[in-house]
Amino acid sequence: MPHAEMVHWWFGAGILMVALLSLSEAVVGPDVWAMRPWRRYLWPGLAFLMGVLMWPVMTFYTNSTIHMVAHGSWAQTMMLAGASELGLASGKLRSQWWRLCTVLMMLVSGGAFIVHEQQHWLFSRAAFLHHAMGWTLIAGAVFPLLRARRPQSTFAVAGFASVLLVLTVMLFCDRDTAAVFGHISQSAGVPHR
């Protein structure tokens, strides 16, 4: 079985790709971005795929009930957000309020990060990052909310991309047991890498 931090790194790579796609959409604008149909499906498809891949994470990394609930709700909302964005991209969904599914995904993901980390902020690096990622996602939910109100907003797309970039950095920094700011709890285990 791969270590938990390896799974974080794999998802970090996926989220980095979504961040680059969103960033480039912010640079060129929604009209140019939508000129080729396949491009519209890229990031929603990737988000949906990551939601699907969250199910094996839920199955094989069930350390506790709260872990299972967190990863399970995470998988569902990621798939819901991906599916609603796919629906908007294909034109089968017309109301921009479907983007609220992405807001929901970010709020649930943020909550899942926070609630399945039972330790305090400075227990270890993983504990710190789980709290930081959780609150980043909750605060970052404002950007898809803004986009639901103003679909053409470059600021909203760029903000969403920035949140994902910050999240990527934090995911790649994650270690199972490692010190944070020179501090690690004695009960955290042996630091590695």
């Binding site: 790579a13 796609l21 000129m35």
Partner: protein
């Protein structure tokens, strides 16, 4: 407004749009290489994150997990798959 003045303004607007599109095209084309550069820089700063550089006594999953290389691969994929078509569309629109 005279026809000459209107034509002048039109040309000026087109030139401004073209300059802006050119800058954005360069930005889009630079995103992938910048990501690759970030991955390479990271591997230089933290070479121990690349188990491929010291592969002995490493398990399978540690050998598969090469985070700086993931960043490099994402940058390459973006540059080869997404950026060219996006830059072409941006140029066509301008």
């Amino acid at each position: 407004m005279s026809a000459e003045l209107a034509q002048g303004l039109h040309h000026e607007g087109a030139a401004t749009r073209s300059r802006s599109a050119s800058l954005r095209t360069r930005l889009v084309l630079a995103l992938g290489p910048a990501t690759v550069l970030a991955g390479v820089g990271w591997s230089l700063v933290q070479p121990w994150r690349l188990t491929i550089l010291h592969p002995y006594h490493q398990g399978f999953w540690w050998l598969v997990s090469e985070p700086p290389l993931y960043v490099v691969v994402v940058g390459i994929v973006f540059r080869l798959v997404v950026a060219p078509a996006l830059a072409a569309d941006l140029d066509r629109r301008s």
